[in-house]
Amino acid sequence: MKVSLFVTCLTDLFAPDVGMAVVKTLEHFGCSVDFPTGQTCCGQPAFNNGYPAEARALAVKMIDVFHDADYVVTPSGSCCAMIRDHYIKLFHDDPDQRKLAEDFVARCYEYVEFLTKILKVDLSTLSLPENETFTYHFTCHLRGLGATGEPAIRLLKQLGGAQFTALEKAEQCCGFGGTFAIKYSDISGAMVRDKVQCGSKTGAQTMIVNDGGCAMNIGGACHRMGASFRVQHIAQIIAAAVEHTAGAKAS
């Protein structure tokens, strides 16, 4: 299966390891992965702040960059939701471009969604290098994909050595929201501290998220507050299990 990675601008700059984890795990599950280098940004910040024309121009570029991809997979729930929820509507007055958008949208998947819906992976043959306790924060924008946190939690639970504890108010937004976190930082700060406090209460070692924005926000608050858990993208955990299991087999 041929998969093109849409890494997203945040992951590219701030969490390149997450991008590599996506590449390695998809390859482990039998995909051939390529990375179209012309990609930039899905246009979500422009769209969300009221600049649809600018978002539209970026959507045209995205569609063009990925025009021959069988599947486009991204580690970011919110970027995928931007594409899924808004790309088609952006071209309501341009039937040709709209058709291209529809075709593109149908090929786009968020990472967990792709693993569970298309690859239908089973992670029970993989095990983590060490026993680890997890909790899971539900990335808001997965709502736009009609998704719940269930598939990600199911995947986590399949991993050997993984222990899961539920997060209180798991579906409550962490307060990222792009420019919201900067412009309305008082409110955003109260939201993210609530999230970190809930995370600390679980006693888990690791909080799993599906989005670069959530990871930056919760991770930054954890560091400021001295919280005891770390924040990881689910691809990083699966990649660690893939590597460990392969290593164990080799030896």
């Binding site: 890494v7 601008c9 590219d12 700059l13 701030f14 969490a15 390149p16 390891d17 590599m20 590449v23 990375f35 280098t37 012309g38 990609q39 930039t40 940004c41 910040p45 422009a46 769209f47 702040n49 009221g50 600049y51 649809p52 600018e54 121009a57 570029k61 808001c140 924008h141 709502r143 736009g144 108010k169 579906e171 409550q172 937004c173 307060g175 990222f176 929201g177 792009g178 919201f180 976190a181 900067i182 412009k183 309305y184 930082s185 008082d186 409110i187 955003s188 700060g189 109260a190 939201m191 993210v192 501290r193 609530d194 930056m216 926000n217 991770g219 930054g220 608050a221 560091h223 400021r224």
Partner: protein, 489 residues
Amino acid sequence: MNSVKESTSPKRGLSLPVFHPDFMAEAHVASADAVLHAALDNSVTKKDYGRRISLAELPDADGLRQLAGDIKRHTLDHLDYYLELLERNVIKHGGAVYFAATHEEANGLIVDIARRTGSKLVVKSKSMVSEETELNDALIAAGIEPLETDLGEFILQVDNDHPTHIVMPVIHKNAAEIGKIFARYFKTPFTDNPQELAEMARVYLRNRFNQADMGISGVNFAVAETGSIVLCTNEGNGRMCTTRPRVHVALMGMEKVIPALDDLPVFLKLLARSASGQALTQYTNIITGCRRPGEHDGPEELHLVIMDNGRSRILAGEYRDTLRCIRCGACLNACPIYRKVGGRTYGSVYPGPIGALLTPLFNGLENHKHLPHASSLCGACFEACPVKINIPEFLIKLKRDEVRQGITKRPERTIFKLWAWGLQHAWSYRLGQVVQRVVLRSIGSKDGWIKKLPGPAAGWTAQRDFPMPAKHDFRYLYKQYRAGEKRGK
């Protein structure tokens, strides 16, 4: 005992009253108030879970929400027809119908009815639309005593305060605060026992129901086909207000009409579940006309005031779907921002996500430019809405309008346009990433985090640390990885 509630927004000139205009100042205080957060978690967050549980009991809650939204959309698309039908049928059953273009007109009509019927004491059941018109102030100015009989609204009236939630008006006060208010008002020893407090109000209000000349209610749904007014309440005060006094006046926003009685169960199944997780409210009143000859109870007169107050302007534009709102408060309960700032911060009569939408639509974006932005667009409100109003999408549209109308400041517009231009090309995108990496790495600490960002980004680091970009971006790592593979072969 005279009510002394004074208007806090004297000459409005706006469709909705604005109680606290400085959003940022209010948000600053509220977002640091741990007591408020705990209280809100204990009320709204719990109600949100109650909503989910009770909706899950339905065989197809999502289908029902879709149907409710479709019925509302159909009604709004043919609003003139259904309002005329409603009018005819209310009149047929002995009621009188009035159309008010503005809140002043609505208040004027009600004051006239009170004067004509010689009403001195008016008992009110909970009604957000009467908060919208500041009806109590108008009645007091005309020498008529309004008395709120919903317990929460009564507390607010006694304390000269405003509701901070559509359904639970007094959630911002705890039992101790209410105890103090009642001790002052009733001149009795202090208690913070909720049952005792409720009993004090009950005894007092029961007596006053019997003295009242006129009852004023809102309208949850008005059924065009039968001319019925539907009221959903939990305390029974709505039933007292609409049966005990001689005159019943119902005030409604014109979007409250539904076509037929067959449509009502769709909304009844959703309203209480969405509001509080109840299958139904304790009381559901379907009021069709006033007392008929030979009947023993009910008011002698029924007056229905249908108010526009800016709704037809919203109806005519692309924000029509916002008028589907049935005022259940589910979006407030689901909203992570409401849970951190409370209703007061939103400044106007309708708080929370739906308020962030309605307030600028009613009063003009220029008067409420923060409201569309003060959202992380998480979508919890849309998911909770029983009539499927896509609140986040409408908030984005309002931001777009701000840009188009020049309300958004020029530097911000320029930054966004430049940024979007830069992302048009892979080379400029990469240049931007390189610059960001170099600059951010130069101000980061050894531990990999930035404690203080410069300029407008300082808001981030005021609350939390900012991650330092990795030494190499993804593109570099990916290239190395592929090169390594080739070498491996």
